[in-house]
């Protein structure tokens, strides 16, 4: 089990339980976390699951793959900390992970 905290762009915070092997996107959808749409269901082909990874976690989480970078071209307000949450797999190392959802998805 790992705890993930989602902050929306207004500062609202939700901490939810995640299982290892799930993606951050799946955790958000399963818990009705607002601000994540995930239209393509995790296929890395819609860019509507965009999140900003908290600075303290950027190294553990790592950067986007080239394919993910390509999809990020379609997202709104992309920053160095941007990731597509369907491409982040939960491991025990990510217990406590904090991400922020952008003002809008697409």
């Amino acid at each position: 089990m790992a705890q993930i905290t989602f902050t929306d762009h207004d500062g609202g915070e939700r901490t939810v339980e995640a299982r290892e092997g799930q993606t951050v996107m799946e955790v958000a959808i399963a818990n009705d976390v607002p601000g994540i749409e995930a239209e393509c269901g995790g296929g890395c082909s819609c860019a509507t699951c965009h999140v900003y990874v908290d600075e303290a976690w950027s190294e553990v989480v790592g950067g986007p793959t080239p394919m993910e970078e390509d999809m990020l071209d379609f997202a709104f307000d992309v920053r160095p900390s941007s990731r597509l949450s369907c491409q982040i797999k939960i491991t025990s190392a990510l217990d406590g992970l904090k991400v922020t959802t952008p003002q809008r998805q697409g």
Binding site: E39, D73, F74, F76, D77, V78
Partner: protein
């Protein structure tokens, strides 16, 4: 207006399921025309994941999205399907007890006995630019496609994107526009290497301005653009003068006109009966991702099965006089004849 094309069947959508429907219809002697808004066959497999491997197609342990589409095209070749790309079926009307009129946005018209909707998640259309307030400018000074190049003559033009569409239009419009600024969020481009080189050459010559950053807002009034607000990589804010903007943010599926065809949609899906995948309108079938029935799985495999059952019912409508004889492809005389002729 062009002549009406008279045919047994029209398949709406050239995704994997629409393609396989050509095969199943061909096996029972039903000829088909296939329409897709994209410029090539393959639907989601080719548009969204051409390079990704698919592992759950029976008999093919691993095949890419593009590979599957290529295989399907080879498989249906004996049935010589007629394709109509770059057009969206915009209207479907019943003209008599057993015929339908389909019209595309390019003016093509079909008179068909059977309609097979294999529209997946809907038509692939350009994604709206993720820029606040862009709606107010769309169609007036912001365009997602170029209909006539001349519309951009002597204009200050902003093009956004890093793929082939954005770069192709940058190269095409630079000679006639007053100025072209290409905005892309990073100095890495998805377009073909040759196109990227040509774009860079124009930038070096000072013909095209390249702005690495993201558009954040628009300035203008009554739908007419004056400038694009953009944030550079270093966070600095800029205003780029513009009379027109062409944003290219890829394609996304939208159900589109199908919602108006009287098919009792529920949650954007077409309900069908599971004996023949016929909709509530006799003669109109729906197969693949676009349909809904108890237990539906949105898998290519399921769409293939639906195509086979649909074809049996479609053949009964097209050839009511014939007695349907069940045939295996290994011994089908229709298939042998077509293969010999191909």
């Amino acid at each position: 207006m062009t002549d009406i094309i008279r045919t047994d069947a029209v398949i709406v959508g050239a995704g994997p399921v629409g393609l396989f429907a050509v095969f199943q219809l061909g096996m029972v002697d039903v000829e088909a025309h296939v329409v897709d808004i994209l410029d090539r066959p393959g639907g989601q497999c080719v548009e969204l994941y051409p390079e990704k491997p698919i592992y759950d197609i029976p008999g093919l342990p691993e095949v890419t999205g593009q590979g599957l589409a290529d295989n399907l095209l080879a498989q249906i070749k004996p049935f010589a399907p007629r394709f109509h790309f770059n057009q969206m079926v915009s209207a479907l009307e019943r003209t008599s007890d057993d015929r339908f009129l389909l019209t595309t946005d390019a003016g093509t018209r079909f008179d068909a006995k059977v309609v097979v909707i294999a529209a997946g998640g809907g038509s692939f259309l350009p994604r709206r630019a993720p820029i606040p307030g862009v709606e107010a400018y769309e169609g007036r000074s912001v365009f997602y496609a170029v209909r006539a190049k001349d519309a951009f003559r002597a204009k200050h033009l902003v093009i956004i994107g890093g793929g082939d569409s954005a770069l192709d239009w940058t190269l095409n419009l630079a000679p006639i526009a007053e100025s072209v600024t290409l905005i892309h969020r990073r100095d890495v481009f998805r377009a073909a290497p040759d196109t990227v080189n040509k774009m860079r050459a124009l930038v070096d010559k000072g013909v095209v301005d390249l702005f690495i950053g993201q558009a954040t807002g628009l300035i203008g009034e009554n739908g007419m653009l004056k400038a694009v607000k953009a944030k550079a990589e270093d966070g600095s804010l800029h205003e780029i003068a513009a009379d027109a903007m062409l944003p290219f943010f890829g394609l996304a599926a939208q159900l589109g006109p199908i919602a108006d065809w009287g098919l009792n949609l529920s949650e954007n899906l077409i309900p069908v009966d599971v004996k023949s995948y016929q909709t509530t309108t006799p003669g109109v079938f729906a197969i693949g991702d676009v349909n809904a029935y108890p237990g539906k799985l949105k898998l290519i495999l399921s769409g293939f099965h639906e195509a086979a059952l649909m074809a049996q019912a479609a053949a009964r409508r097209v050839h009511p006089e014939r007695r349907m004889v069940f045939q295996h492809s290994t011994s089908s005389s229709t298939l042998q004849k077509k293969l010999a002729g191909a």
